[in-house]
Structures are given as structure tokens and as C-alpha cells.
Amino acid sequence: MATGIPTSIQTAPLLKQWVQLLADGRFQIYSGKVELGQGISAALVKVACEELCIHPGQVDLVAGHTALSPDEGYTAGSLSIEAGATALRHACIYMRLLFAIQAAEHLAVNLEDLTLDQGMFGALQSKEKIGFHALAKDTNYALIRVDTPLDQSRDVKKLIQQPDEEFIRFDLKGKFTGAGFVHDMVRSNMLHARILRGPHAEARARLVDAAHLRSFEGVTKLVIQGDFIALLGPDEGMLLRAYEKAYATIEWQLPNLPAFQEIETLLTSLPSVDEKVVAQGKALPSSQRLTRRYSKPYIAHASIGLACALAEPMRHSANKAGLTVYTHSQGVFKLRQEIAAALGISVDMLDVVHSPGAGCYGHNGADDVALDAAFLAHHLQVPVRVQWTRQDEMSVSPLGSASLIELSAGVNDQGRIADWQAQVWSHSHLNRPGWLPGNNLLGAWALDPKAPRPVQKDQVLPTGGGLRNIIPYYDLPALDVMHHFVPEGPLRVSALRSLGGFANTFAIESFMDELAESATVDPLEFRLRHLTDTRAKHVLQATADAANWNSRGEGLNGHGYGIAFGRYKNHAGYCAVVVQIEVGESIRVQQVWCTVDAGRIVHRDGLLNQIEGGLLQAISWTLKESVTWGPAGITSNCWDTYSILGFDEIPQLHIDLVDAMDQPSIGAGEVAAGPLAAAIANAAHHALGVRPRHLPLTPDRLLQLIHSQD
């Protein structure tokens, strides 16, 4: 790998793969990182404007289009700024430097005397100005490569910068007042479709009376292929009514599911593959030892909008019938490959194009529904729009894996950790399309010939899936990590925001408080004495200062403060959190203080939005959420049975962003969840004197804990 060249540039080395000059004088920029609602589009436009000194109105962004944009893998892992924006910035700087040389020549001035404003090069001593478009006429633009290190020793003198406020999300106004999502796309001869799926991803219809299904008003076509059953019709309302009637006629066959039970008992009772993954250092003598278990349940993505896709036949060449698929997938290139495999066609016959969906927090049903639509459009040779139902969204879509973590550590008389052992029981946290051999699209398991479900495998450290963030960011003399990988469980699981990092950070940061208590040291001081990274220390101290940590009092009166820290993946953004809670019948988070260091900030409001959202979503996970099931499938299949945070439960947020301008940008979209959960548990202990270790921290759980103390 060449040093100093962003990974995405190595995959897409030509300037035209990142920036093209449009005939109307504007700039088209390309990215593999798509707008999932996280605001990346505004950040990417800002990067191009900063480096080319142009105005946002001069820029068009194309992202996530298999025929046009660079393949930057998935929009996932908090890498859109760290990798995506960094690559685009590299290409834009490269372009500026290259064109500056020509501009200097053209204007007969020194390169260092050049100014650049609104995309026009000029100089004080020259009346003439010249822009990128005019200069490009003398180049062979299509051949310009950008995959060599940047040399910024010679650069234009003056870059005009626009204020941050110029770079608002350009998609929001349209979405608020009109069509803006893949759900809103229509074609004139389009059919709507609903797929009959049961209450579990692997449920199969026992007997299907095709004539009966076809008889419902609103159904103009019925497609049954293998275990895949689709109802289609031109009117969505009528079709949905028919779907509900049809669904009621079907008896579902389910795999034998392990009973719904405590995560601790469930995960330790299932077969596991056990592997020691870390064994390092030498334990110091210790005077006391603590061993504790923590758990996190299965969590649903539970997006407000349903999975949806539109596929339409198109002619790629004279004789080959191809398809265009519009999808809210996180990875259009991998999806194209998996759809092609499932349909038995060549990838050349498919264009997969990103189109916005409702909030995406990981691998949800977006990819599955894209195959549903692609199969039907391919089979029927008409445009087909498929939308899932609320039940599909909550039960056949992948869910976030459950985790059990056991931590054990010795503490010596000086109040320092002498050794640390961790054990994790969890499934895979990564079952994305294309991640493993086999096919991870739901429809591919139902359509004949049925594709095998991939053999389950988790991502290994240092990135980790179930093990993400299991290595504490603290100085420890000895560390030992055991992975009990549980390949099969009751539910279909895959990536949900921060993967195992949420549970592991929750466990580590709860345990740090327990260790601090056993050593009778303040939890903040205990953390600081085990940290050497000054940026980590800074976010902790700054958050504690903002929350007036030292005045928090003794607690035990129903009011409590808790603190926690995490560095996502141990190499991305730093985050410290203090929460103040009040406990009545349930825990109410009243205030959250949070400090984040994500290196150089590219788009301040976008980062702030990610942190706000990450904190609030994590409060919901921590206090309320758990997927439930029974022998007849998933029971948390609607908003009545799967409750999320409401507007009456929103705390005051005090967020501080460290502006580390001299540091590279590091991922921040997932930093907040783990620390937030632990801070709440730590605050509950401060408020009540009991230690909640199993999520979610519902009123029932708290009552149990309080009674078990009596």
C-alpha cells in the first residue's frame, strides 16, 4: 500500500472518478459514501468547496451509483469522513495543485502569487482570471491520475473560504415538503409488491393456496417461486389490504427457536467456538479481585420508514435485458454482486443506484428488499416497487446481536489494576451481503435454487465484531481475552451501529466504576490514573468539569451522576459522557454532558448532529429496548411491543467538540453509544446504590435489583 494515499484513491486513481467539470461551468463530485441521514452529503460538498474554492451552488454530488461513483465499500463503520471525505479532499487538492501550475503559466505569474476564488485563478498583478473549466481544455482530463502523494510545498496564496453556515444539508427542504426517498419513486407501468414473509426470517409458509391468494381484490399478479411468495398490483392501498387478508390465511413453519430467556442463560447454553484471542503482559500481585457479568439483548434497527426498493428493466446493450435497482443500501457494489448471483445474471446487466431511505443504523432490510424488487422486475419485465410491512421491518430484517461479557480484574493496594480478563459470548455482528461465501439476502434463501446461508463468522480484532472495543483503552499490566463465538442463535443478526462496541464499552466502563469503588477511588480519578493518552484524559476531564463532577454529592437519594469514556474501535473518535439521572418509577436522564475529539472537524453541525443522535438513540437502547420472541416467532413486531424513546424523555444535551485541527479526522458516528450506556448504569448506582448490569434498564429490572438487596 502506498503511503499517504487514501485507500479509496488507490481503488479509484483517476481524477475523473472524483471530480468532473460540467459543461455549464459547475463541478460534479463523486463519492462512494452515501447519505444515510447522517449528513455526509453536506460534509462532502464542503470538502470540495474548501479545496477548490468554489461555492456549494457550483457543486453536484453523485454518490452510491455502480455505473458512476467510486467503489468505497459500505457506508459504515464511522468511516465516511475518515475515509470518504479524506479521499475526496486528496483528489480536490491534487486537482487544485495541478491546475494552479497551468494557471500560473497562463497568467504569467508565480504560482505562489495566484489567488483562487469561486473556482477562478487570478493574481494581483494580472487583470485576467482563468477557471478550471477553461484550463481543462488544454489537458487530457480523462487520464489525470491522483494516486501519488500530495506535495503542497507550492500552492496558491489565497483561498477564499465560505462560512460553515453555507454548508447546510441541501436535501432537507425537498424531503420536508415533497418526494425525497426511494419510497416516493414511481414509474408509469409500475406494479406494487408485498412479499409474504412470516414472523421470523426463516419462517416458511406451509401450504399456499395460489388460487385463493390470487382471488383477493387488488392482486393482479401472484409470483410463487420456491418459498418466495409475492402479491402484486397497481394500487398500493388495495394491495396492502389484500396482503393482510392473504397473510391471515397462511400457517407458518418456524425453525426450532431456543426459548426467550435471560441473555446470560441463553448465550451460555448455546454451542460456542472458544478461542483465546489476547494473552499479553504479566499480572501484578493484587489484593482483591472482582468478577462481574454484563449483558445486552438483541436490538432492532426499528427505522421509522420501511425497507423499500424499485427495480426496472432496462436495455444495457442491444440484446441484453438489464435491470436498474434503486435502493437505500449501504453498499451498492456488494449488493449488485449478490443480486446478480441470486438472479444468475452478470453484474454488467445491473446498475444499482442509491436513493435515500429512512434512518439507517447498520445492516437492515434495505439489501433484502432490493433483491425482492430486482427478482420481480426481472421475472415480470415491468418496473416493480416493493415495500416491506412494519412486521417485516421488525422481525425478518437483521437484528443487532446480543452479548454477554464477563470481566475479572485484580486491584492492588495502590489502587491500580493488576490484571484484566475478559470473556465475550456473542454471535456474528456482520452478515452483510458479500461478507462471506453464500448469499446473505433474504430472498436468496427462498428462491430456487436456494442459496446457502453463509457459515457464520465474526470479524476479528483489531476492528472486531462481537469483540469490538473489548480491549480496554487503559494501561493494564496483563490482559487476557476469551471469545466464545456462538454461531447460531434464535434470530437473524448482523451489523447494528457500533456492533459489539456498545455492549463491551458498557461492560468495561461499568466495571471500571466497580473497581474504583472497591479501591475507594473516585471513578474519574481511577480512569485518569490508568490512561496515558492525553486526548483521552482531556475529554474525560473536560466533561467532568462541565458537569461539575466534584459537586455531585453522595447520591443514594434517587438522583445520580455517572461518568464513562470510550475511544471507538480504540483508534477512532474519543468520547466522554457524564449523565445526571433521576429515578422514580423508571430512570429519567435529565442532563448529558459529552465531549468528543474526532480530530479535524470537517462539518461541525454534522458532527454535532451525529453525537446528539448517537446519545439519544443510546438512551433508548439502554433504557427501553429488547427484541422478544416466542415459539411462533418474533413478538416485538410493532411499536406497541417495541418501544423507543419519546419526546417526553429527552434530556438537556451539553456537547463540546474538541477542535483538533492538526490531527487527522477520525470516525465519530458511533462513539457515543457505549459510554452513554455505562454512564447511565453508573449514575443508577450513584442514585440507588444498586448496580444494574443487564440491559435494558427497565423499571422491572430496577425493582428486581432493589428487592434483591433487601
Binding site: 441521514g37 420536508f176 421509522i304 434512518g359 412494519r390 448532529n609 411499536w639 419526546f647 417526553d648 444535551l653
Partner: protein, 155 residues
């Protein structure tokens, strides 16, 4: 045949009158600014204003709006109060994915048309009919305050 006013224009539809309004608005009427969320009256995404009252269009039959005034997010900009609410949401960038916002804009506009200075409790009660999954709540609350502030300043 159901006849109603859709954003000020007389509209008629021949669909089965028992169908939920949301499908009629989104499909035959092509008001794609109305979102479908759960179809069960839980999430608020499909909220529109019917005769001045914010209602979830998945829970209304089409025949029940015969002769009614239906107002959807597409008409926000042409409404003096709706335009202020919309602009406040844009100024605060009060969204992540934005899917839940259209319904929220409807509920807040209906509320602020009734009372210019609703209590904090009333605002929370109104917003509590909506779900947001991205965690944009804090921004939505700030945008609501900004809209109220601007409307009060205008008198």
C-alpha cells in the same frame, strides 16, 4: 367518489372509500410529501391536517374526509404559520434522515395555528404522537422554540 380540498384544490377520488387516506394521498393524488410509517397510528409519520386538526392519515378512511380541507407538507410554504415552522426546521437543521419530520411539521403547524404560545407540556404532548429513531429530538425541540419565538415576534 370522495370529493375534498387538497391543499386548496378540489380533488376527487374514485377509490374504495374504506381505504386509509394515506394511500390515496400518496398514490392517486401523488402527494409524496406524506410519509407512510407504520399504518397503525403509532408513529405519526403520515400526519396531515384535516379541517385544522392534525391527524394520522393511516387511521382515517378516505370517505371520512368527504368535503374536508386536507393540508399536507407540500403546502407549508404557502401558509403563513407553516412557512415559519418549516424555515425554523431548516435553520436548525432539525433532522437526520428526515423521514419523521413531515408529520411533525403538520402537528406543530396545527398546534401553532390554534395557539401561538402553547405550554411546554402541550408541545411535548403534541410531539409525543411522533416517533423519531435517529435521535433528532433535541433539534426538533430547538426548532419548535425558534418557530414560536419568530411567530410571537411577528405578532
Amino acid at each position: 367518489m370522495t370529493v375534498f380540498q387538497l391543499n386548496g384544490a378540489t380533488t376527487s377520488t374514485a377509490v374504495d372509500g374504506k381505504l386509509p387516506l394515506v394511500h390515496v394521498l400518496r398514490n392517486p393524488c401523488d402527494t409524496k410529501d406524506v410519509r407512510f410509517g407504520c399504518g397503525a397510528g403509532n408513529c405519526g409519520a403520515c400526519t396531515v391536517i384535516v379541517d385544522g386538526v392534525a391527524q394520522q392519515s393511516c387511521g382515517l378512511s378516505t370517505e371520512s374526509i368527504e368535503g374536508c380541507d386536507v393540508f399536507t407538507p407540500a403546502a407549508l410554504q404557502s401558509d403563513p404559520i407553516g412557512a415559519v415552522v418549516l424555515q425554523a426546521f431548516l435553520d436548525e437543521q432539525a433532522a437526520q434522515c428526515g423521514y419523521c419530520i413531515n408529520g411533525i411539521l403538520m402537528s406543530l403547524t396545527a398546534l401553532l395555528k390554534r395557539e401561538l404560545n402553547p405550554s411546554k407540556e402541550k408541545i411535548i404532548e403534541t410531539l409525543n404522537r411522533h416517533l423519531c429513531r435517529c435521535g433528532a429530538h433535541a433539534r426538533i425541540l430547538r426548532a419548535t422554540e425558534l418557530a414560536m419565538h419568530r411567530l410571537q415576534a411577528k405578532g
